[in-house]
Symmetry: C2
Subunit: 328 residues, 2 copies
DNA sequence: CTGAAAGCGCTTACAG
DNA sequence: CTGAAAGCGCTTACAG
């Protein structure tokens, strides 16, 4: 089924059909009506590849998230954020193509491929793992991309980014522990730059003589094991900032299973505000990242770039905020 | 950048370039080498739309999940399943396009659109909400689709499906409660057909005089509220089967917050085995749905269909199993 | 308001 | 082993 067949049935040319289908004003009202009727009755759908070849546009946006060596497990927060972005794009009439990227091996084809192959009109790159060289590679072939939650580095000035103020988040966590009267505090962090930034904010607020517990990775399991194995050590502190909710919940359960009470003996503050933070017992006090707002802004920004409106690099910073629950 | 430009640089025709790029044996080894060098140095990537227009193939698979009116919230189980399928497809070299579908309004364009527009080579339709008319509409335009976890209805014989035995799952839940010595049992269910099937298996095993608590929807909140509001009523029972983990965790927390002990006063069995079932306190005993296996099978099955191997409708049934933890 | 021509960047089929 | 022709299904640009 194609526009030539419809043209034949209606008794016009395929060009007129194309115009009618695209709501061009250059079609007689009656012609348009007949074309639409026939197209409808045949269940006609445009061939996206052909339209894309002619126009250069595909009506789909790529969403890239950090994966493979960067993170063994898809983060729950990222997963929810992607879902929100997908919904937002869908409201704009765009499909979403989702793929993982990995900047750990300096192979940048993950990042550029979907654009270079013209599979998508624009790209939303999610994650703190994005690098200067990755975005430069992207910039060399298109301006239709944005980074969501990238690191706040000088090189990001050359790109459009939607930031969440990670450092402020860390500082808020520190304030929360202090307001709860916690004096002897420590932090537990995963070994990635994003957590360094949260840590920086934390010690900026509370001083840099804060002991650090290093989590081997971002899994619940690793955090749980840490708490179980080093529980006694942890009880020397009365407050703990854990760099992500999933780890915070692991630590909390580990402590609980060792009979250490939260928050009575040790208060815990997490980061992200994933759905499960609220369902845990005690419910987790955490730093909320405004993912709905970020998702909506990401969709709108990429739409603007696809429509060639305002392609100057532009930064937007979102503020995290504390959600006080039971763990601190 | 296109193959004509590469051809000019190499001093050959674009056809030879095309062949070299596609590993055709009909190219002199030296010619191929030069083509590949030049392509590499220019960072050439094929135009997917053009290739798709010529071959009819896009190297992308669509994944459809139930959304909109069908489910207000993307289910955590479905979300993880999609992630697993995406990973499996990626290993086969395919991109994934993700979209929601809604069969509640009998508008089937959600289901057929991606295939009809030739945006994807094949479609994986996830969910118990899929209908006979939806799959028939799909079948009328392609045979490259499979349904994952559809209802086990006679009409599914006409389609390829990957099933999880929901009824068996319900029966296993009943057995688990009985083995734990629970006599006065009840069930709490969401108002969707999938839960009816689980219910059917449950009462087949344990008798049909089992009271039903109706959850208004599939959210944690609704389940939590039910437990809080009708906690006294619930304590008349010593065992409860809740149709999904998210609801089970809601009920459990609601009971806990009312001071009702789980499993001492009332044992709880959930369904799905989402990640958080294990992290809850008490950890949730639940019916595990083998999503990794299902995801791998889905990817392999759709690959076979895309390669036109074995296009006869075919059913595969996966068995759920009980994961005994603390709540029962 | 309508249509014939040319082109988007590939591949298939055929001729050499 | 190589290349010219034709075509995939659209749209843009131009002529009427």
């Amino acid at each position: 089924m194609n526009i030539r067949r419809i043209a034949k049935l209606v008794g016009t040319s395929h060009m007129t059909v194309s115009r009618a289908l695209n709501n061009s004003p250059l079609v007689a009202e009656e012609t348009r009506k007949r074309v639409l009727e026939v197209a409808e009755s045949l269940g006609y759908q445009i061939n996206a590849g052909a339209r894309g070849l002619a126009t250069g546009l595909t009506t789909t946006i790529g969403i890239l998230y950090p994966y493979h060596r960067l993170r063994e497990v898809e983060s729950w927060y990222t997963s929810q954020l992607m879902h929100d972005i997908r919904s937002a794009l869908w409201k704009h009439g765009f499909d979403s193509m989702i793929a993982g990227y990995d900047t750990a091996d300096h192979n940048l084809s993950d990042i550029t491929r979907l654009m270079a192959q013209k599979k998508v009109d624009g790209l939303i790159v999610i994650g703190y793992e994005v690098t200067a060289e990755a975005l430069e590679a992207l910039a060399s072939i298109t301006h239709r991309y944005i980074a969501v939650n990238p690191p706040r580095m000088p090189w990001m000035n050359a790109h459009t980014g939607l930031f969440i103020d990670q450092e402020l988040g860390g500082a808020l966590a520190a304030q929360t522990l202090r307001s709860a009267g916690r004096i002897r505090v420590a932090v537990a962090l995963e070994p990635t730059p994003q957590f360094e930034t949260r840590h920086t904010g934390f010690i900026r607020e509370i001083g840099d003589d804060v002991p650090v517990f290093h989590l081997p990775d971002g899994t619940y399991r690793a955090a749980y094991d840490l708490a179980v194995e080093r529980g006694t050590e942890l009880t020397r502190f009365d407050g703990l900032f854990v760099g992500s909710d999933i780890s915070a919940l692991g630590v909390m359960n580990g402590l609980l299973d060792r009979g250490i009470r939260v928050p009575e003996e040790i208060a815990i503050v997490g980061f992200d505000d994933i759905e499960w933070a609220r369902y845990a017992r005690p419910a987790l006090t955490t730093v909320h990242q405004p993912r709905r707002e970020v998702a909506a802004a990401a969709a709108e920004r990429i739409m603007a770039l696809v429509q060639d409106a305002g392609d100057d690099p532009m930064s937007t910073v979102f503020q995290p905020r504390v959600i006080a629950r039971e763990s601190c």
